[in-house]
């Protein structure tokens, strides 16, 4: 590599010692001393991999320079699906049910967590299809076991437990993953108690141990301690702890259906109860109808809440005025709500109010002021008089109920 001149060290070499002022001799020329400076231009040229179609430079020197164009030509045939033909072991995933028959977010996270366990040793992820008809392969499952003999949407923890036990007996999986959700955690504990095995409940993360094994981590002691152990066979997994499967879809090949197995059912009947929405705590409610200072027709507001089946809430101003009780106040000095839908009528959207709705899913706002903060925050914003929209919406909902279909 050619070195550039270093004027500073050349000048230092000419310095003559002695005297008050610095003096430099123009006559003596000693060879340059110290470190040679590198020439960035030459280094860059050596590291350039290709110029077209775009400039590529590998500073780490790991890529040998290629003729341009060669990069594009040699591309492997495109793979569209990954198949694990002969798995070394199985990871059984027991999806939760979200009550509507679809694969929920936590189910996809579970399959992805199973994927990471399987990929570390050439295993296959086998998902138990309690409901059927989902894209389990796309979520990362290699095999799917359908279970016959259980009601897909009914609350039947004992039947599901029997189904999981049958699948475990058939497959003898290395790991079984459950969802740490209300229904999923119940089934996980029933299975663990029946098998007499330890359940690692509510795993938050998987990490590599010092001796190469996988360890699982969970919160213990009310959340103050992290408990870690070598990953046992039965594990339940916290929601939102694992990322979704992002790679190619997997095969999702259906295996033979398994019969549910004998279940000794002692939970004999179950039915959902209709709950008065106004008795639900504000932070728990899923659908909130919230009124602000722009609402004057409070009877209409109550009727609308009933027609929608929504829980009533309000801004601080209306609670101060006594239109709603204090525990119905949303905001920084009220309740931080987590509703899926927040329907705001005549609320300006003061910062103290918006702080209360940061974790809300969808916002619908009605306000007469186009420039209100609430209108900016909303997913569906309507600039109109709330007193006119409320009766129109009540009429529309009543029409549908009376008319049947429309």
């Amino acid at each position: 590599m050619k070195m550039r001149r270093d004027p500073r060290s050349e000048r230092e070499a000419r310095r003559s010692t002695g005297g008050e002022r610095p003096r430099f001799s123009l006559m003596v020329l000693k060879p340059a001393v110290g470190r040679l400076r590198r020439s960035p231009r030459i280094v860059r040229q050596a590291a350039t991999v290709s110029i077209s179609p775009r400039l590529r430079i590998a500073w780490n020197g790991r890529v040998a320079p290629q003729a341009s164009g060669a990069v594009l030509a040699a591309r492997a045939p495109v793979e569209t699906m990954r198949v694990v033909a002969e798995p070394a072991f199985h990871v059984l995933v027991v999806p939760d049910t979200d009550g509507e028959g679809g694969l929920s977010e936590i189910d996809r996270q579970l399959i992805a967590a199973g994927r990471s366990l399987a990929d570390s040793g050439g295993g296959a992820v086998c998902a138990l299809a309690l409901q059927g008809g989902d894209d389990l392969g796309g979520a990362g499952a290699d095999r799917v076991i359908a279970v016959t003999g259980i009601e897909p949407l009914a609350y039947d923890p004992e039947g599901r437990t029997a189904a999981v036990l049958t699948a475990i007996a058939i497959l003898s999986p290395r790991h079984v993953l459950f969802a740490e959700t209300p229904d999923g955690s119940d089934i996980a504990r029933r299975v663990a108690a029946r098998l007499g095995e330890r359940l690692f409940a509510g795993a938050d993360a998987l990490e590599a141990g010092s001796d190469g094994d996988t360890r699982a981590l969970r919160r213990a002691q009310g959340g103050s301690l992290a408990q870690s152990a070598k990953l046992p066979r039965l594990v339940s997994i916290m929601p939102d702890a694992f990322p979704l499967h992002a790679g190619l879809p997997h095969e999702g090949r259906p295996l033979d259906e398994v019969p549910m197995g004998a279940a000794d059912r002692r939970i004999s009947a179950s039915r959902p109860l209709t709950v008065d929405p106004d008795t639900i705590a504000l932070e728990e409610a899923d659908f909130l109808l919230s009124g602000g200072n722009g609402v004057t027709d409070w009877q209409g507001f109550a009727d609308l809440a009933e027609a929608l089946g929504a829980t009533r809430a309000g801004s601080r101003v209306v609670c101060d005025q006594g239109h709603l009780p204090r525990e119905r106040q949303v905001g920084a000095s009220g309740t931080l709500v987590t509703a899926g839908c927040y329907f705001a009528l005549g609320i300006s959207g003061a910062p103290q109010h918006l702080q209360g709705i940061t974790r809300v899913g969808h916002v619908v706002a009605v306000n007469t002021d186009l420039h209100a903060e609430m209108i900016k925050r909303a997913d569906l914003a309507i600039v109109a008089d709330a007193q006119a929209v409320m009766p129109a919406l009540i009429r529309l909902l009543a029409e549908r109920k009376g008319g049947g279909d429309d």
Binding site: P157, P243, A378, A381, D405
Partner: protein
């Protein structure tokens, strides 16, 4: 007359770490004490000298049976043995303990050993002859009623009514009855590694594909609302827009789909 057993563990304040009565177990005891025509017995496996046990007595218990199990030992065999001696129709516990492992396995192991049914997430219990109707408190304020054959283990969650405050005089008057038992050390817990919990950063879904610039943009771009805006529509049009939006997002029963969100 039905025989009820309440399992009470010692809780731990989440911020200060001080011992206290466990919130869910106290709710369970509250349900048991409110039950008409019930004979309630309470059990704890642990140190009989723990001061917070008095809080349970203050709720109106005459006696509390304490099985003297050393810390770090498995409380399940001792509890099973004690419960077998009493033969309760209904065993009430909390969903999770606040101290210790808190994995919520104890009630299931007891039910398995005694051959009882299990119902979780209970918010209310009502006993009839041979069966119990349990109202389950589910997320988002939903409720479900199930009927279970007795004997059963019922796990109480935070939807159950709040526990009454302990009365000082009752707490002093109540008796703690210690029972010596033998217990083995919990080998799994001993093999676990414990360290202080450190919150990890929230996981973001990293988009794949596209150029580096596109991925960066997808991650950093602020996701505003859908931002549909109607300015001064007639009320009917506004009402239709709201209704269609709510139906589309499934917050309102759509035309033809049975019971919506259930």
């Amino acid at each position: 007359m039905i025989r009820v057993a309440a399992l009470l563990s010692i809780g731990r304040h989440p911020a200060s770490g001080r011992a206290r009565r466990a919130g869910l177990d106290a709710r369970g005891l509250e349900l048991a004490l409110r039950m008409p025509n019930a004979e309630v017995r309470a059990f704890h496996a642990g140190d009989p000298h723990a001061a917070s046990l008095r809080d349970y007595l203050g709720m109106g218990l005459e006696t509390l049976n304490v099985l003297n199990v050393a810390p770090g030992c498995d409380p399940v065999p001792a509890l099973v043995e004690a419960l077998r001696g009493v033969g309760p129709d209904l065993i009430i516990c909390g969903m999770r303990a606040e101290a210790g492992e808190g994995s919520g396995m104890v009630p299931y192991l007891i039910a398995e050993a005694l051959g009882h049914a299990v119902v979780c997430d209970a918010a209310a219990i009502e006993c009839a002859s041979g069966t119990a109707r349990v109202v389950q408190g589910l997320p988002r304020g939903r409720r479900r009623e199930v009927v279970v054959t007795l004997p059963a283990v019922v796990l109480v969650n935070s939807a159950a009514p709040a526990a009454r405050a302990p009365a000082f005089a009752r707490a002093r008057r109540g008796r703690i009855v210690p029972h010596p038992v033998e217990a083995r050390e919990d080998a799994f817990l001993a093999a676990c590694e414990m360290r202080p919990w450190r919150a990890r950063p929230k996981r973001m879904a990293v988009p794949s594909g596209g150029s580096a610039q596109e991925r960066m943009k997808a991650l950093t771009e602020a996701k505003a609302g859908e931002g549909r805006l109607l300015v001064n529509p007639v009320p009917e049009e506004a009402a239709r827009a709201v209704r269609d939006y709510l139906v589309e997002k499934r917050f309102l029963r759509g035309a033809g789909d049975g019971d919506g969100r259930g």
